[in-house]
Subunit: 511 residues, 2 copies
């Protein structure tokens, strides 16, 4: 019995090792397509990506895999705890891969590519009539996929199944509960912050910084953050910043602007957070489901804990100020002036140009709309109006056209339905984890003042990165912070940074 | 019946389409590893490469593929001619993939990586004791692989099976016959050429050329040769020059040296020849076995027809001279001085530094030795002595150490046993094809004088590139040149260029 258990699980490990490497190959090829590849090779690359997905699908759906799973599960008690987790995740991947009919998988893949291309073509003109069919098809397919996956995964609704595919184990109830608290507080916080900043001194404009100098500052920051550049590449170019690759071969991109020097640096911090998470996943489970990083909400928390938390602390702004010393107009690079620039609140039509405080307004709206669109409570025809109403309610602004409205993002037409919540869940997780890290390792703040991240990096490696997928989300937060995800930490953080006072105090005195 | 034929063949086309794209993905990843990847990611990349090979192997060896092959072959008469060829090549790939036991495939893959690494480590020191076990293992595995593949492919000897894997359909008898003619003539030609060049005028050294200027000249040449850079990338760096990728996404690399400007340009011409072959393979069979380029001998002919034939004609040297005009010391860049540099004959210990006339001496020796090593007529222990003896006999020089001797090349320890003949077969093919092209399209020479390759490129696209693998080697040469591969064209070419007279005339008057 023991022998056959071991054998079935060993066969599974070998197969999932192979599958993990096919996915890794696909990720490197994707980053290549964004950095080295010529546009004329797009069709070829798309064939390769589909071949990798198709090969992985065939090798996972092969009947022998189900036999191995059944056999290994019938003797799972004989396995060490972490291997039992690995086995459970294998079953989950198998369920996800086999639940959907092949025609539906192909249709989803086709819409993803088509939606991406259509978005690129029509985004700037905001031609809604041209894009609408693509949104309708995407939500129809998402609804069908969600419906099937709901039963396969045993979750409550089709939308919860879509959430789950990006954030394994995340419950819709969690998102609804924590988002509701934020939704209630946010408009008041934004109004108060904007009122408050009227009395702040004027912001001194930053001088232009030579791109080579900026790249040098960026490279130093990446090194200080702890990125292992012996097994990873930072491309500098004009493409939209991203990170990908594998734990053993991280690839990230950034872009620097001479007249907006902070943007490129905080982008680099963000992408480094993603990459370091991957680099520090547990070596003992490398290329296994339990060794992979967790869902996108945790992933976003690891980029934001560097970009929004550590690198915007008053302590780190001291270090950042010194990094610009002698690069022209030192008065513009004082920590105080940097803070005024970084923490300026101003609702924007465009999500990716939004400041930290108004950004979640975009996400709350996306969440409400996509949940209702999948549930059929809202139709795509009514989307433009619903968007404008929601923006007015949440941020007090109404976009002049769909390009600056609901059509600005690629996610929906390209089948990323269910992704948006991860951004704000990540911001919440980052606030909660950073508070816990600083409490556990008080030296973190002093190190940040010296521009160093050693203790924070160690804490993250130990409590988040090194856990891979060996814990559930609730287990991870509880082990690291003493409690499950709780939006209160995020709101306390926003309140302290933007209102200059504690959040709980606000709540009790407000309303 | 027609329906089921069609269905089995359609299923095969779908499967081989997928396999072709997995191979293509592997090739892009390989080029990435040579250009973008950091050394610390080598192990990760090696896992990915093995996963791609393993996935392809599993999807090709799947029992359904054999069923489809049997079914499609039983009704092959209903297929158009080119599809019958495609079906025949599918069977060939299937036989190659299924004949070898999995353990042997893994061992070969392992030795390939290990041999590569050991070669890198010990090449410069020439530590034969450290490398010898790797050579022994490689030849033992090659012998075993060849023994099995001999029966599977129905060829005469294990070595012929190894030749066949790099050059599908190439017969050992052809190589032996054409190489014997060259082997007989070569020492005399080298001696005569060296005697003759004593009376040539002195060669004027070339001035250093700024690397940016050199890269500009190289890019212009690549464009003029006809490389489609809308779907291909030329990297410039320090790596060993190579080409790869896919027909839809060619990747090639070159390196330029300020003090040896010609080297980088002829390298670019060589790699462009490889890449343009791929770019122009038949679109109707893209991602199918019949649409792939042929063996490495034909591939090398396509690089050499540009590097050694077209770009070294007296006509093109006129154009090349003009490309350097104004870059310093015009007297050094006269066509006559360029010719004296390019056509200087001087036996070298190192194959890749050899001139055109002595280069085949290295290949003839490699061919004789590897054939005897596989057959067991020569042992690895006797290799160093056999190498030195062979060099003395062929080129009249004896290397001072193994690093400058048999250990200089990576091919043998990395399982490239059977590859070497392709270089000289390629040179022979290039001479024969170029002669036929110029005969069919006399305007080629005039165009070369103007630095243009239009007619040559069209002739090659029509007669070689566009044929993919739809013809056998004999059919390809016969259709393009009126006869099978014949070394006489190569020897005529060498004789005219290095001895200043016709080859046949030599034969009859010599001896």
């Amino acid at each position: 019995m023991t022998t056959s258990t071991k054998s079935a699980y060993a066969s599974l490990k070998e197969r999932f090792h192979l599958l993990s490497n096919l996915t890794g190959a696909g990720s490197i090829l994707y980053l290549d397509s964004m950095t080295a590849m010529k546009p004329g090779s797009e069709a070829d690359r798309s064939e390769q990506s589909m071949a990798l997905v198709s090969a992985g699908q065939k090798l996972l759906a092969h009947p022998e895999v189900k036999d191995w799973l059944d056999e290994a599960e019938s003797h799972a008690d004989g396995l060490p705890r972490d291997d039992r987790t690995n086995l459970r995740l294998m079953r989950r991947e198998w369920v996800s891969a086999t639940a959907l009919p092949e025609a539906l998988i192909r249709e989803r893949a086709r819409l993803e590519i088509e939606g991406n291309n259509l978005h690129t073509r029509h985004r700037d003109s905001g031609d809604w009539a041209a894009m609408k069919p693509s949104y309708e098809a995407a939500f129809a397919v998402a609804r069908e996929v969600g419906g099937i996956m709901k039963d396969a995964l045993g979750v409550a609704t089709p939308y919860e199944a879509l959430l789950d595919q990006f954030n394994p184990g995340l419950r819709l109830a969690t998102v609804e509960r924590e988002f509701a608290r934020l939704e209630e507080a946010l408009p008041g916080m934004i109004a108060e912050a904007m009122e408050r900043q009227k009395s702040a001194g004027p912001t001194r404009p930053l001088p232009r910084i030579d791109l080579d100098a900026l790249e040098k500052i960026g490279n130093d920051l990446v090194r200080d953050l702890g990125f292992d550049s012996s097994r990873g590449v930072l491309y500098v170019g004009e493409m939209h910043p991203m990170s990908g690759g594998t734990p053993g071969d991280s690839r990230m991109t950034t872009r620097y602007h001479a007249d907006d020097p902070l943007d490129g640096l905080f982008t680099v911090a963000h992408e480094t957070g993603h990459s370091m998470y991957e680099q520090n996943t547990p070596a003992a489970f490398r290329y296994q489901p339990a060794g992979h990083s967790m869902g996108m909400d945790i992933h976003e928390s690891q980029s934001m804990i560097l970009e929004l938390q550590a690198c915007r602390t008053p302590e780190f702004l001291e270090s950042l100020s010194r990094r610009f010393s002698g690069r022209g107009d030192d008065a513009a690079f004082t920590p105080e002036n940097l803070a005024r620039r970084l923490f300026r609140v101003e609702p924007s039509f465009i999500r990716i140009h939004s400041d930290e405080l108004t950004y979640p307004g975009h996400i709350l709206l996306r969440f409400n709309l996509e949940r209702d669109l999948v549930a059929g409570r809202l139709s795509v025809s009514d989307l433009p109006e619903a968007w404008n109403e929601g923006m007015k309610k949440t941020l007090g602004i109404v976009p002049p056209d769909p390009a600056k409205g609901h059509m600005q993002d690629v996610h929906w037409p390209s089948m990323g339905i269910g992704y948006f919540p991860a951004y704000t869940l990540g911001a919440m997780g980052a606030a909660q984890l950073f508070a816990a890290a600083v409490k556990a390792r008080p030296e973190i703040r002093e190190e940040l003042g010296q521009g160093q991240f050693t203790s924070l990096r160690q804490w993250l490696a130990e409590n988040v990165h090194g856990k891979g997928s060996l814990l559930t989300q609730d287990e991870l937060f509880t082990a690291a912070t003493g409690e499950k995800l709780d939006a209160a930490h995020y709101m306390s953080h926003l309140s302290r940074r933007y209102l200059g006072r504690d959040y709980r105090a606000t709540s009790s005195s407000g309303g």
